[in-house]
Structure formats: C-alpha cells, structure tokens
Symmetry: C2
Subunit: 391 residues, 2 copies
C-alpha cells in the first residue's frame, strides 16, 4: 500500500462533488461547455471587488517595508485589532481585543486549527446535518468522532434530536449558518434554544462544549433580520470566518478565528490556537491577503447578484413543481427530489445535461443541491432542463 490505509479508503469514496466534476468534464468535452448546465460547484462566480485589485497595486509599491516576512503566527497585530474592533462595533463580541483574533488559512484552516486545539482523542463533535462533508474529515484529522445530528424537515435545529446527540464525550458543535447545502439561516429562537441546552449540559458534565460557528456565508443573506452568531450567544464560542465568499477570493485562503471573550481562560485559548496554527504547518495566514482584508473590512461583492439568481431559481423550480424550502442565504438551494432516490434523480438530470449534487453527499437522502454561482445563460438553461427532468 503506497499511501496510508485511511487515505486509500477515503479516496475510494471520492466525494460526490468530485464525481460530478468528472462527469461534467466528460459531458462538456462531448456536447460543448455551453450545452452543459453545471450547478455542482460552490465556486464564487463574481470577480473580487475593484478595491481588492487596488490593494494589490498599492502593495506592489510598498517595496521596503518587510511586509512579506514571517510575522507572529497569529497574524499582523493591526489586522487582528481591526477585526476585533469590527466585532465589537457590530455587537458580536463586546470586549474582544486583537489577542482574541487568530488569522487563518481560510475557514478550512481555521476549523482544523480550532478542532486540533480543543480535541482529546475520542471526543465527539456534533455536526448539524445536512452538512458540508469536509467537517467529518476535519474532525477525524485530530482524533475526534463526528456525530451528525439531523435538523428538521425545514433544516432548522431540532432541539430534542440535538439533546439526544449530546453525550458526556461531546466537546463541540459545528454550527454552519447560513448553511451549506440548505441555504438556511438558523432562526434566532432555535439558536437560543440550542445554546440553552448546551449550557445545561456543560453544567451537568462539568466541562466546556464549544460552539464552533462556521460562517463563511455570513454576508450572503437575503433577509433583513440576521440573527447573531451562535458563537456570540454561547460563552464557549468560536467564530470561524473566511473572506472566500464575501470578497470572492477563495483561492487566496484567508479567514480568522475569533474567540468569545467570555470563554474559559481566553488567553490560554488564544495561545492554543496560535500554537496549532504553527504546528499544523499553516504557520500564518498569507501576508498579502491579511493586508488586503484589512483594507476591505467593510466591502463585499454585489450580494444582489446572488439574490437575483436565488429568486429566479426558486421561481423556476417551484413553477416546475419542485418542493423547496426558501434559503435565506448562501448560493445554494436544496430542493426535495421528486423521487426518493436522490442518486437516481441526479443521474436522470445528467441526461438533461444538468449537474447537481445528491443530498446523500451532505448526509440527507432524497434531496439535491443546486449551486447558483452561474451566469444568466446557465441559469435559464438549467431551469428549462430541470423542468424537462420532471416533465
């Protein structure tokens, strides 16, 4: 065996997204890219805002300032301070200082750093399902055990089911809102009920249960009333953020972990996250991108562009008879399949040259995920094709 057994096994179950990517490549070669409607990839479609390119140009002129050297593993102090100020100003973490912000290599890097920092071998981490499958790998990387807990039929938190999922071994809960794949923003009341349950169990078990709020889609929301982060409602809360979606720079790998200032022993936590950033080989978040986001803390891509697509897809899907829960955010829609077998349905859609991801790939059979990071022609072509699929 060339590679480790766990790697070889995991690779045989190549992700659905990957399989769709490969089918898509075949189909595009055969029929032409313009005749294939690829809704399988969550790859931000828009270019970064113009200010991002302005910062690159300005950095190209700052040739004598040592900006590309190693910095403290947690990141540039000025960047950490500015993020702390923003999270104070918007009420997420009153009292947060730069010490409580650790710059990360995207949210994927941030989650691995956070999980490495909290997990002893065999401890459990709950993921609210349907969920981004990478979470299971991230948890196992650090000796943890992923415990998927089903949300309800509207993909909202089901506190009774969650109560059965929390055990004395539970060390954390990953809360991804707005959610990939469902697009749901967990309602204020659900998050409050969850936090109250978690707090009760912390007291009962006598140890912290961390809420890891993974919020890379925080700005991609289409409602006015956006509930606070679960990490701000629970004292033992960590907010994991990435600019991949809000600035359309996923290739750059830039994000942060912010520590709720009311956490048990915040300075030890800050040191622990910094230590894990260093020893997992991230070392620090990329310098140029740290400097870029410092200048762009109040900038986002055009959220309206995504909202327009969401609305058009919702309309098209419902007119065709699909059963859809309205997503409040992200660039995903997670409709119910018209037949119970989601894999069969996705294969049927391929005949109409539409690429989808089956719900099985997110731990929920009988559904499929649409990513609407696509242009107008693909939007209209895909809607027409999805109509033919159920005709």
């Amino acid at each position: 065996m060339a590679v480790a057994i766990s790697i070889a096994e995991a690779m045989t179950q190549a992700s659905w997204i990957r399989r769709m990517f490969e089918r898509g490549t075949e189909l595009k070669a055969k029929f032409g890219a313009e005749n294939v409607f690829d809704l399988s990839l969550g790859n931000p479609f828009l270019e970064p805002p113009s200010q991002y390119f302005d910062v690159l140009r300005e950095l190209s002129e700052r040739r004598h300032e040592g900006l590309h050297r190693y910095m403290a593993n947690a990141g540039f102090p000025a960047v950490r301070d500015a993020i702390a100020k923003k999270l104070n100003d918007n009420g997420t973490f009153p009292g947060l200082t730069g010490d409580g912000v650790i710059m990360s290599v995207g949210a994927g890097g941030g989650l691995n750093v956070a999980l490495k920092t909290i997990l002893n071998p065999g401890e459990e981490v709950i993921v609210l399902s349907p969920h981004f499958v990478e979470y299971e790998f991230y948890i196992r990387n650090h000796g943890g055990v992923p415990v998927p807990v089903e949300t309800d039929e509207n993909f909202d938190i089901d506190v009774e089911t969650l109560a059965r999922g929390i055990t004395p071994k539970t060390k954390g809960i990953i809360v991804n809102s707005p959610n990939n794949p469902t697009g749901r923003l967990y309602p204020r009341a659900s998050v409050a009920a969850m936090v109250s349950l978690v707090r009760e169990r912390e007291r009962e078990y006598g140890h912290p249960i961390y809420v890891l709020a993974d919020e890379p889609y925080r700005e991609l929301v289409y409602v006015d009333d956006v509930p606070p982060s679960a990490a701000s409602l629970h004292d033992n809360g960590l907010l994991i953020y990435s600019w991949s979606k809000s600035l359309s720079i996923p290739g750059e790998r830039i994000g942060y972990i912010a520590i709720n200032p009311r956490i048990d022993d915040p300075m030890v936590f800050s040191s622990g996250l910094t230590f894990s950033t260093r020893t997992l080989g991230f070392v620090n978040a990329p310098a140029t991108s740290q400097l870029a986001v410092l200048r762009l803390l109040d900038v986002t891509i055009d959220i309206g562009w995504y909202k327009q697509r969401r609305d058009r897809f919702l309309e098209g899907l419902r007119q065709a008879g699909y059963d859809v829960v309205t997503p409040e955010g992200t660039f995903y829609i997670f409709p119910r399949c018209p037949i119970p077998d989601d894999v069969a349905f996705v294969n049927r859609a391929i005949e109409e040259k539409v690429l989808l991801v089956p719900g099985s790939g997110f731990g929920r059979k009988g559904y499929f995920r649409i990513s609407y990071c696509v242009d107008d022609a693909t939007t209209e072509g895909a809607i027409a094709a999805l109509r033919r699929v159920v005709a």
Copy 2:
C-alpha cells in the same frame, strides 16, 4: 482544562525560539533595539526581488480572469507544469509531469500533507538530528512517532547510527539539506550511502520507506558542487520545497511537493497528496503566490548578501576561539559552546545582549545556533559581544 491535554502540555514546553523572542522583547524595551543583537530568528532579512512586486502590479491589472477563485486542490495546472519542467531540466526528476507536483502552503504545509498521506498510526519517521523541532509536531499530528537519529560530530549522516534507527515500523526519513540548524549540505557520498541502506531495508521489510527531502534552503548555498536532492536518488522520494527563503516571502506561505516519478504508484500518490491538501483544510496554496512564483522560477534574492555575512561571522567566531563546522548553506551557523551547558552559555550571552538559541532546542546539547539574517551593525555588534562572552 480549556484546550486539549496534548496542546496544554506542548505549550508548557514553549519553544526556545519563542522564549528567546520574549527575552529579546524585554531586553529591547530596556536597552533600546539597537543595543540588542538578536541572532535567534530565522526570518529572511532581505526584501523580495523587485520582480515579485512587478507580478503583484500585473495581477492588480488582471481583473477579469477568475484568478482568485478556487482551482483544483493541487494548484493551477500551468504552475505545476512549469515546476515539473524545471525539475526535469535540472535533472532532479526526469520524466516528472505536472501531475506529480502538488502546490502547498509553504514547506510546513507540504510536510504535513506528505506525512498525513503516508502515515498509519504508530509508524515511525526518522529525523536526522540536530533538527528543526517542528518536525516532531508535524509527525505526531498524523499519528506518527518521531525518531531522532544523531548525525556525526560534523553533522554529517552517520550510516551506522542510521542503520540502528531504522526498524520495521519506519515509514519515512526527513532529510533537511542544507540543514537548519547546522547549515550543512549532506555530501553526495553520505546521501548515496543512506539511500542504499534505505533501499536494502525496503527490500527486507517489503514496504516503502519514503525519503522526505525538505529543501527550503536549496538555493542558499555557498559552494559550487551541490549534490542532488535525496528525493531524486531514492525512488520513494518526495521533494518538499518552499519559496520562503529563495524569494524572501515566508509570510506568503507558498511551496510544493514533487513526487519522484519512479515512486510506487505515482498517480495514487498524487491523488493522496491532493486529498490531504483538501481535507487538512489547506484546500489549495494561495492563488496570488502561485501566480507569482510561476513568473519567478529562475529568480532568487541576492545569495551573496548571505554569503558575506556567513563569512564575516565565521571569521569573527573563529578569531574569538569558537569551534565551528563550516556551513555550506542556509543562514545559520551552529558552533560548539565553550562550556558544556548550552543553556547556561546562552544565558551568559544574554548578559552581553546577544540572543542565541541553545542546541538543546534542536536536539543537540553543547551547541548554539546563530541566525545571520541581520544587518551590518548587528553583525559587528554581535561578533564583538560574542568575543566578550568568552573573554
């Protein structure tokens, strides 16, 4: 306990480099930065080459090309192909194609990805010592057991000692040449003897033993005859590279893993490394830096600048009576302490306001490490102070 037990324990043994950093901060506050001679940090001193800034400016003008989106996890195909061509042209890996190059988040990221990909729980990885202490964390991250094997009194590979260190559980050997902390470039004959031993043991045990050649200092050499990479001499070889030193951009986190094309099952290996890049949360190497290095494959900072400092420190140290093995590369010198207790010696040096790292921090007592990433004034001040230490 807020953080994981392993993290809390590791943090109590904060690295020597970190402790020196903190002592340095105190001393600088007390006596003024210009009166403290800090030789403790391996942080490239020079600015990146001017061409690096030219690339940033050019990228600021390419606003409509989707360059900052997700790409394949292994990196941009054009970048991987260009690196493969270079490693063909310079004879490192004849027959290598872009498939065998995986872009990484620096060498720290590359090593973690490589170790994750090869290690089953409990397997051993040999590190030739003295060594960069982070290796031990990297190996343990993925369930491996670090096995330091001493090099000889000139820090050259001692094949007999190595032979005793290799067991049926050995899965890999990290070979860091030029070496941090010694500056040694392992001689051609030593590397050949090591490879011959490893090959013999592979046959005996019936499984591969990977040579992980960690070569971020490859271009920082001060001799004409540079031996080939250990990864090119051993079929089961992986070359791990970073541009942190050669382009002076350690804050940007950009490197690669290249697979010896004669490895067992190269395509499985390529997929495995790509899978680990994805699931460890690196996702991909930063896009902007991938595009930058593509344009700078034949560019380095001024190596002569470092050579001048190496020569000046060697002269100054020897004149003061220090026993020093001439380093052929890196920006480190690893002299013997004039007293057996290296920690006591380093504390004595602090009285003269020189910051060093004791050899204990690299697994070799009785020595100390100098990093000569410093300006002229610090060089001369440090040499004078090191003379006073032994006066």
